[in-house]
């Protein structure tokens, strides 16, 4: 347990190493899943290819989707993509960067599955056993005597040693070796190709779009951090809100009880004034509320955050909780005041 905690701490030390850790775990899980999976070739002419292609392609698809789902940033990407424009423009380069980095990480487990499947060879053997060149590998003279369906039926049983009955035509071991050799060659070529592609993308990219890349990376991190900080701030606010609410409730109840012993407006006034005189702790909590003290206002704040994200420009004092919710400027209230005064 201690070991896992340490590994988690190491991985969580920064976001990127955490995501890399998740990738590594998915890759290992993929390899482990393959070894635990009991491959069972049907050994029938029509079914072999379908089974093999299914085994080769379906789990990688599932692993890819799982990789996307486990990535926290998917919801961030969706949010950034779908939000209304508000006062902050959307940058398609940032969206592309976020999608690419997520897709790259999610592709590792499927690639591992495909590589392990090809290197093992059972899938390939099952799929292509009917396409083995009998003339070259076995008794070529006997092959033409067989009708094609019979030959296919015979060869389809190559992956199943317990039911294979074609040793007179083609030694099973020879066919298995031949197909596994090709499968392993394809597997290693696939591995080489993917690592080459990854290397080229990672190493050649800085030569071309470095400035744009730095920008996209920065704003992508910014969006992530902003979302986290907003969630933290909301949580803090909710906590303070709840504390103050509960305090007020308790105070009201205790004053109600006191009222039960004394009566009259004096008691009510005392109760009211007592309720409104804040203690030190309560003052701190009220500060945390930042002036937002009722449900309606909070709802408006949250709606505004989604519909009209503030611009990426610090230092501008722009009132939000006014008529200008949907983005209208601060000019309207001021003009009203000026007009009113001039009439006087």
């Amino acid at each position: 347990m201690d070991k896992f905690r340490m590994i988690f701490q190491f991985l969580q030390s920064n976001q990127e190493s955490f995501m890399n850790g998740i990738c590594g775990i998915m890759a290992l899980a993929s390899a482990q899943m393959y070894s635990a999976f009991d491959f069972n070739c049907p050994c029938l002419p029509g079914y072999n290819a379908a089974y093999s292609v299914g085994i080769l392609l379906a789990p990688p698809l599932v692993l890819f989707l799982l990789g996307l789902v486990l990535n926290n940033n998917v919801s961030m990407l969706a949010e950034e993509w779908k939000r209304p424009l508000g006062r902050r423009a959307k940058d398609p380069a940032v969206l592309r960067y976020m999608f690419c980095s997520m897709a790259q990480r999610a592709l590792i487990a499927p690639v591992v599955w495909v590589a392990v499947t090809l290197l093992d060879g059972k899938c390939f053997l099952c799929a292509f056993c009917t396409a083995v060149p009998v003339a070259a590998l076995g008794n070529g003279s006997l092959a033409p005597a067989l009708p094609a369906p019979e030959l296919a039926r015979l060869l389809a049983r190559v992956p199943c040693p317990e039911i294979y009955d074609g040793d007179w035509l083609l030694a099973r071991e020879v066919a298995v070796r031949y197909l596994r050799c090709i499968s392993q060659a394809l597997g290693w070529s696939f591995v080489l190709l993917t690592t080459l592609l990854a290397f080229v993308v990672r190493s050649v990219r800085p030569c071309f779009t470095q400035a744009a890349f730095l920008k996209s990376k920065y704003w992508s991190h910014y969006i992530d951090i902003e979302r986290k900080l907003f969630d933290e701030t909301c949580t803090e606010h909710a906590k303070a809100f709840a504390k103050v609410c509960i305090q007020q409730f308790f105070e009201a109840v205790s004053h109600d009880l006191e009222l039960g012993h004394a009566h009259g407006a004096l008691a009510t006034a005392t109760a009211a004034s007592a309720a409104h005189s804040p203690t030190d702790g309560a003052a701190e909590e009220r500060d945390k509320l930042r002036g937002i003290t009722d449900q309606g206002t909070m709802n408006r704040l949250l709606m505004s955050w989604h519909k009209c994200r503030p611009p990426l420009h610090l230092g501008q004092e722009q009132p939000l909780l006014s008529n200008g919710w949907a983005g209208a400027g601060p000019r309207a209230p001021r003009r009203e005041v000026a007009t009113y005064l001039s009439r006087v």
């Binding site: 070991k3 030390s13 060879g121 070529s189 591995v191 080459l196 290397f199 190493s203």
Partner: protein, 317 residues
């Protein structure tokens, strides 16, 4: 547990030790992949070489690229190399240093793979089974060339009925496996020295035997001559240390074999010359070289050297 924690903390302490840790991890992964990879030589004439060499070279290349990928310094290096100069001038030495450190770390895993493949030997046996010289193995002499090629291609596959239990296959396989091991040459030197000592012992024994026989024969001759001198014979054969032909002893059935052991080196000077030549200039490791370089009868096909010739003249190997 404490050691594990200390190791983790050590690796986290700096980015360089993180990359070292990743390098070690990749090397360990290489070993795991190699041990779990199911080697499958096709045992077909043209495919063997491709498969064997492909397996020896493709995974190291992929591992090298992986090593470059996991190392963040490679991206930093490329960025530093390609950035515009701006207000900070570029130092090529830094880029070179980063390049060399990245390359060194990335080369660890491929070297581990190649080492494992060569020490294991299966790759080598598969790739070069068809390149073996059939003349080295007596069993193959009776087959046609195409049959020989088929046989050699199947050498890596022990289960194939064509080669199962064949002593030639075992010999070829052992021969090839030996070739791939790094320790072959150190074993060879060791064996060569032992064989040389044994041969010298044999030679010394036979030399001594002949010397003694010769001495006795010459003693007999002398006694006879002494007897004959009484009879006024003027023949007094000098006991020669180096007779032109060693005297044949008809009662000794192994005399022919012993003569072969002596290999026509029958004098002290010749033996001294041979020993100093062996020490000063060992022969080349090429058995197909002209035996004339040796000038001696150590190779069976060489003609017998005339006695009195010193070997020190033939040290231009």
């Amino acid at each position: 547990m404490e050691r594990f924690r200390a190791l983790f903390q050590h690796f986290q302490s700096s980015s360089e030790s993180v990359t070292n840790g990743l390098c070690l991890l990749l090397a360990a992964l290489t070993i795991k992949i190699y041990s779990s990879f199911d080697f499958n030589c096709p045992c077909l004439a043209r495919y063997n070489t491709l498969y064997g060499l492909g397996l020896l070279l493709t995974p190291p290349l992929a591992l090298f690229l992986c090593g470059l990928l996991v190392n963040r310094q490679s991206v930093v290096m490329v960025e530093e190399w390609h950035r515009p100069v701006g207000q900070r001038r570029k130092d090529a030495g830094i880029v070179r240093y980063m390049c060399s450190s990245v390359l060194q770390r990335a080369l660890a895993a491929p070297l581990v793979w190649i080492l494992l493949a060569l020490l294991d030997g299966k790759c080598f046996v598969c790739a070069f089974s068809n390149s073996v010289d059939p003349e080295k193995f007596l069993d193959l002499a009776n087959m046609t060339p195409s049959q020989v090629q088929l046989f050699l291609a199947k050498v890596p596959c022990k289960e194939d009925e064509l080669v199962r239990d064949s002593p030639a296959r075992k010999a070829v396989s052992r021969y090839l496996r030996c070739l791939s091991q790094r320790r072959y040459w150190s074993n060879y030197v060791d064996l060569e020295q032992k064989l040389f000592d044994e041969t010298c012992c044999e030679h010394a024994r036979d030399f001594a035997h002949r010397c003694v026989l010769h001495f006795f024969a010459s003693m007999r001759g002398e006694l006879r001559a002494w007897g004959l001198r009484r009879d006024a014979s003027h023949l007094s054969p000098e006991p020669a240390v180096v007779p032109p032909e060693p005297p044949e002893d008809p009662e000794d059935p192994d005399s022919g074999r012993r003569k072969a052991h002596l290999r026509a080196i029958c004098s002290r000077e010749q033996v001294d010359g041979l020993l100093s030549s062996w020490y000063c200039s060992k022969p080349p490791l090429d058995l197909t070289a002209s035996p004339g370089l040796w000038g001696s009868g150590l190779s069976r096909r060489a003609p017998l050297v005339a006695p009195g010739t010193t070997l020190s003249q033939h040290t231009d190997v």
